[in-house]
Structure formats: C-alpha cells, structure tokens
C-alpha cells in the first residue's frame, strides 16, 4: 500500500514536471517569437529611416549643385544620381520645386532659373549653367537633363542648327530631315523631343512603333519673331496623346538662344514659363538698379559730356523695365521691345566707355 501510494506520488510529480516542461517550451516559443518580431520590426524601421535619410541627403546634394550662385561661370557637371527627380512649377508665378521620389524633403527655388523636364530618371544627371546676358550679366540659367532624353532636330534651317549647336554637350541629340521624320524609330529613350521650326510637319510622324507614346513623345516648335532668327519669338509646346495626335499645350515667348534651349530641354510649358518669369523679374530688378546709377552719373557735373548718352540709356532701361513686368500673360511684343533695348544698350555701352571715356552703363 505504501508502495502504491509512493508510486502514485511519483507519477503525480512526473505529470506536474511534464506539464511544467511543456509550459516552459510554450513560454519560450511565444516569448521568443515576440522578441524576434520586435527586433525584425526595429530593423525594418531603421532600414526605412535610413532610406528616407539617404533620399533627403540626395536632394540636399542636388540642391547644392542646382542652386548656382550669381558668381558662377559657364560650367557643366555630370553627376552620378540614380534616383528619380520630379520637378514641378506654377506657370503663372515664379514658384517651383523638386524632390527625389519617396523623399519627404521638397526643395523650393523661387529665384533660380532651372530648366528641366518634369521628371528625370537615370544613372546620371547633366547640369549645365550659362550666364544670361541682357546685355549685362543677369543671372545664371541652369539646364538639368540626362542622356535618357533624346532631342531630335527636324530640318536643317538656321534656327534649328543654332539651337542644336547651343544645346549642352553630352546630351543625346539626333537630326532628321523632314522627309524621314514620319518613320523615325523608337530608340527606347525615356522621352523623345522633336524640335521643329514648322508645326505642319508634326502630325506627319507615325509613332506606331513607339511604346507608351503618350508618355514619351513631345515636341517644341520654334517660331522666330520678325526680322530676327533667335532674338525673340514664340515656343509652342506639344505632347502626344492616345488619340494619335500631337496636342498643343500653348505658346510662350522666348528671348535669345538661352531661353530657347531652356524651352527645348524642359519641353514642358509650365516649367519653361515659370523659369522665364524668373529671368524677367531679374531683368526688371537689374534695370531698376542700373537706372538709378545712370541718374547718379547724370547728376555728376564731371560727367556732363555724357549726360545725353546717359539720358538715352535711361530711356532704354526704362523701356526694358516696362517690358519685363511679370503680368498674367507674357506678350511677344514685350519681348520684341526688350530685344530692341538690349541691342541698343549693347551698342551704346562701349561707345560711352571707349569713345567718351565715361563710366559704362553696365
């Protein structure tokens, strides 16, 4: 009996131990899973955080390259950048911004003229800056593009050849005659931009072989003004639609080759117009300053010989100031007036400095 009792106790103890063992294993599994889950979640969050940090840093680095200062000379940089950049602008103002995809950091640039397509994706970014002169040094204009955008120049007229030669080096350029334009092949670039001097040839293109033509095909038609090849005129922007047609997004004036190239590189009406307004505002600001300076020289008795010349310069500068007012709509006539005054000042300044030995206009 005692033995049976002892055995029962032993069995009971064994049961308890077995149960305890099972419970321990269960506890270990559950607790282990929770701890592992916690660490996985932590690692995931850290990795995501690091990615966001990298994107923010990339935007900041690009910022330093794009926001060229007023003192810069004409330079080109090719930067290794494998993230997608999205640009946007308000065509009615000087507000524009860009950001790297998935980055929460948005870089705004209200005073820098940066002509770029609305998005760039590739392994590298080509950044070129050129000083815009009117005729005095005004501001550096920045072109941002990459080799995955193809610029196709149609026809070999003077204006087309000029723009083609002025386009930054290292960009993908091609030339095609009007006759061969209809069968232009799809070379698999992100965007293909046709640059023409006559919109009539636009719809002769048969882009059947272009995949996603409505997202990849664009055109810019250059229409010079009267008595000039590239001094002033209009740029008309087109994009291809799914109804097998090029549709116009509207026309915006241009002033000088610098802005034509800006329009070609951006092939986006809103981005082009926004950045053109920045150029106009800067011209407006500088003409105001130069006018004040000319008045100062006019009042100086020692410069009486040049008084009438300064008066002429003031008239041209005031004309430029009037023509560069940033209104709701930009008019081609204003650009024509700007060009006339710029050309007059270009002749007058060396005459004042060289012949009359007086302080120059700029």
């Amino acid at each position: 009996m005692v033995n049976a009792g002892g055995l029962m106790l032993q069995i009971k103890c064994l049961d308890k131990r077995g149960f305890a063992l099972q419970f321990t294993w269960l506890f270990v599994l559950i607790a282990g899973a929770i701890i592992l889950g916690f660490f996985f979640s932590l690692i995931n969050n850290l990795m995501h955080g690091e990615e966001v940090q990298t994107d923010i840093k990339a935007t900041q680095e690009l910022d330093a390259l794009i926001k060229i200062n007023l003192a810069s000379g004409d330079t080109q940089k090719i930067v290794l950048f494998d993230k997608k950049i999205i640009f946007s602008a308000d065509s009615g103002s000087t507000y524009s911004e860009y950001y790297v995809e998935n980055s929460p950091y948005i870089a705004k640039y209200e005073y820098n003229a940066v002509f770029s397509p609305n998005e760039l994706e590739g392994d590298e970014v080509i950044i070129q800056n050129v000083m815009f002169k009117a005729p005095f040094r005004t501001l550096p204009v920045v072109y941002v593009s990459n080799k995955d955008i193809e610029y196709v120049f149609v026809n070999t007229s003077t204006i087309i050849n000029l723009v083609s030669s002025y386009l930054p080096e290292n960009l993908t350029k091609a030339s095609v005659s009007r006759g061969l334009m209809p069968d232009y092949p799809d070379n698999n670039y992100d965007h293909t931009v046709f640059i023409l001097d006559d919109a009539a040839y636009l719809n002769s293109l048969r882009p059947n072989s272009f995949r996603n033509a409505d997202k990849r095909l664009f055109a810019v038609v250059i229409t010079p003004g009267q008595n000039t090849i590239y001094g002033y005129g209009n740029l008309t922007f087109y994009h291809y639609t799914s109804s097998n047609d090029f549709v116009s997004d509207g026309s915006v004036p241009f002033l000088d080759l610098t802005t034509i190239v800006g329009g070609v590189i951006s092939h986006d009406k809103a981005i082009y117009e926004c950045n053109l307004r920045k150029v106009l505002k800067r011209i407006n600001l500088l003409t105001d300053l130069h006018t004040q300076r000319m008045r100062h020289y006019q009042d100086d008795i020692s410069l009486f010989e040049c008084k009438n010349l300064y008066q002429t310069a003031i008239a041209h500068l005031e004309n430029m100031k009037e023509s560069s007012i940033d209104g709701e709509k930009l008019f081609t006539e204003d650009f024509q007036n700007l060009l006339i005054s710029i050309n007059e000042l270009r002749i007058l300044n060396p005459y004042i400095i060289g012949t009359k030995d007086c302080p120059g206009i700029y």
Partner: protein
C-alpha cells in the same frame, strides 16, 4: 565565517559601485569637452561660409567693378554699392520681390563696407556703406572682415576697403 563572507561581498559591491561612478564622471567630462570642441569647429566652419559669401557678393552683377566691359575679381563699384544699399533699405519695408530676392541670398545678416585707405572718415555714402542691415536676435558668427578693392568709376581710382559680414539667427 559567514559574517566575514558577507562583509567581503559588501566590500566588493561598494568597490564596483565607486568604479562605475568614476567611469560615469569620466564620460561626462569627455562629453563636455567634445561638445566644446564641436562648437568651436562649427564656429570656424560658419566663419568660412561667411568668407565665401563675401567673395560671392563681390561677383554679383549689381556690385562688381566693370572696367571697359571686363569684370574684376573681389572689386566693388562704389556707385553700385550706394545704389544697391539704398534699394535694399527702401524695399525692406515694402516686402517686395526685390527685397525678398536679397533676403533669400543673405537671410538675417549685416553687411557693411568701409573704406580704410585713402579716406577713412566713415561717412555714410562717401566711404562707408551699409549694404544690408537685417540682423536677427543672436549672432551665429563673429563679424568677419574681408579686404576688398573699391573702385570709383567717376574718378577711375581705387581704394582699399573692408567688408564686414555677420550672420544672425
């Protein structure tokens, strides 16, 4: 024996505790020292940025010397200085595009240019120019002084000047 063992254990615990305190104190002092060193380096870097800004300013189209159409490096035109200083001062109160343009470049800072040779009377508009006066509450940098060439386009003479730039929070 048991009491002796207990005493030794207490002793060990105290020793470990004191060592930990010494290590923590050491760490605190090291951190403080590092913080001071980093702040010094930050100040030096900010001053370098100020010098870069001063060099950039002298290349602005609205300030640079232009002699016979050629631009000169680190040279400021006196008449342009006066005109730009007046313009910024005038437009500061109106919050116009003109002032906002320069605010975007210069933020909260104070920039003065003083002629030191041949004239140094510190007369506003003659040999002293307050180019930009938009200070904040706390200076972020020292007042950095950079020598500049000053050109008078009327008399066609040069003078030595000092550009003083200070950036604020």
């Amino acid at each position: 024996m048991r009491k002796r063992a207990q005493m030794q254990m207490t002793e060990t615990i105290f020793v470990v505790f004191i060592i930990l305190i010494i290590i923590m104190l050491g760490f605190v002092f090291y951190s403080k020292f590092q913080e001071i060193s980093i702040k010094e380096k930050e100040k030096i870097l900010r001053n370098i940025e100020v010098i870069k800004l001063a060099h950039r300013i002298s290349s602005w189209p609205e300030l640079e010397c232009s002699i016979a159409g050629a631009e000169r490096f680190a040279c400021l035109d006196m008449v342009k200085l006066e005109v730009l200083g007046d313009f910024i001062n005038r437009t500061m109160k109106t919050n116009s595009y003109g002032f906002n343009y320069y605010y975007d470049l210069l933020k909260n800072s104070k920039i003065t240019i003083t002629e030191v040779y041949p004239s140094s009377t510190k007369t506003l508009g003659t040999d002293y120019w307050l180019l930009y006066d938009n200070p904040g509450s706390t200076p972020l940098t020292d007042a950095v002084i950079i020598p500049v060439n000053l050109y008078n386009p009327v008399s066609k003479t040069y003078a030595l000047g000092m550009m003083e730039v200070q950036i604020f929070k």
